[in-house]
Subunit: 276 residues, 2 copies
Amino acid sequence: MQFGSLRNRIITSLPSDQRERILALAEPLILKKHMVLFDVDEPITSVYFVEDGVCSLVSVLSDGSAVESATIGYEGVIGLPVFLGAVSMSAQAFMQVAGFGYRLSVPDFQAEVERSPELRAALNRYTQALIMLVSQTSACNRRHSIEERCARWLLLTHDRVTGDSFELTQKFFALMLGVRRATVTVAAGKLQKASLIRYERGVITVLDRAALEAASCECYAIVRNEFARLQGGTPVANPMAGVSVSEDGRSTVADAAASGRGRSDRVFSPSSARWK
Amino acid sequence: MQFGSLRNRIITSLPSDQRERILALAEPLILKKHMVLFDVDEPITSVYFVEDGVCSLVSVLSDGSAVESATIGYEGVIGLPVFLGAVSMSAQAFMQVAGFGYRLSVPDFQAEVERSPELRAALNRYTQALIMLVSQTSACNRRHSIEERCARWLLLTHDRVTGDSFELTQKFFALMLGVRRATVTVAAGKLQKASLIRYERGVITVLDRAALEAASCECYAIVRNEFARLQGGTPVANPMAGVSVSEDGRSTVADAAASGRGRSDRVFSPSSARWK
DNA sequence: TTACATAGGTACGATAACGTACAATCGTCG
DNA sequence: CGACGATTGTACGTTATCGTACCTATGTAA
């Protein structure tokens, strides 16, 4: 991946004249490892269109710990709060895996948003995708095992970087997943022993992507499919089809809980509480 | 709270002519308990402005379990995916605590969005608030104890309903927090023994709000303050100030992790990795 | 009045992840 | 070259929460 081979999905979705106008205004720059693109409650001064690499959006807790709520790569943009009318956010965005991208000053960005309905539409769709990503990650963090979440995270990252290797120490991996480093060592160790990945002093290599997908929870596929649907990639059959909603398409979580069948029950009942 | 005493923050933020136009188009309706406002991957046909009660946005997992990623009340709207250019979402929205609100058909809603910059701005700000809520909830779900999360959830709900009592069985409470019902029984039992709440056959009563705030994690205050900041309520000093960011205002989570000090370290180091 | 479903309380062994600590290896820099 | 920091691997006792089951109380409907 080199400068010039544009792949940022927001920018590439624009008509060519707008694309070129933005690129003329934007400053291409290397996004170094751990570079902070915006910080907790500090004014956002630039908006970044990632081309390569992975940026982590993390929520910081008062005990000093932090948990990743989203990863952002070439499919998105860093600085959405500006688009949404805020000047800052109670979260931090920093580069987890180094790469590069384009930087636009907030005034330039706002001017482009103002004059381009296509840009607004692309940002709106990305916002929707981000909400879905953060929601799914939230549920995943609560219910899925470390090993599944490791695999999910590696897949999301692999999708966003060039090649099969990227820099990531277990310390940062643990930070992202909200667990101890030692927990990551064990979980990633299992993936390593099964030859799905290789880990060596801060560099991780994906060896068997298909097996990694099998080792991950459904969250990866759900997220990938939603992004494809919203950004026009290749949609894949939703893995939740036939599971979360029964054949009549009217069943609900509320019903499943209300009807007294537990969370491991895979078939929901027909709805009765549903609004008529 | 009666029909007529408008308090939905999106609608009340609009100029009076627009407010009345929307209310003329909208259908007031009772939002019954467990009514499903939109469902996983099903087309969203109406947008709801909540006036009273609480709607839960939940992610459904393939084992049939579900976890709440956001609560929505009079401060927001159900159907944001439509505003953001999607027709459905891989999540379910259903009334957790009954109430009432206004319903707008998707075409009417889209027409209003089209002609009102103020509505778009309000929806944008709410979208930003929602992203922050979901992110914070995600981190909270991963790191905070059940008791803290119980308290947080009760406070968020208490803010959105009329009076100090509302209907909520432990089964649904557990569903929201992503834990077993028995776990909620124990955690809520502690809050009850301490006289912070009272629990009786599906009705929960907040007895000591101040103590409940003390029992909750910081997430409640962070979320409340961010909503106030974005929607023009009464901002309160951010409880994270001085914790997540050191005096020079340039410290980062990345640095805290990179510098070898653990997650329980409350002071972050000055930044060196930060972009220059 | 009886039967039944719903709601909440409790128990108990199982287990995933925790906090902490320490050792081994490797790279870098004085 | 030698010291030190960074990275990974491993261990051990602890703890929060799990899965499951069972009991009681209460409201509701036959």
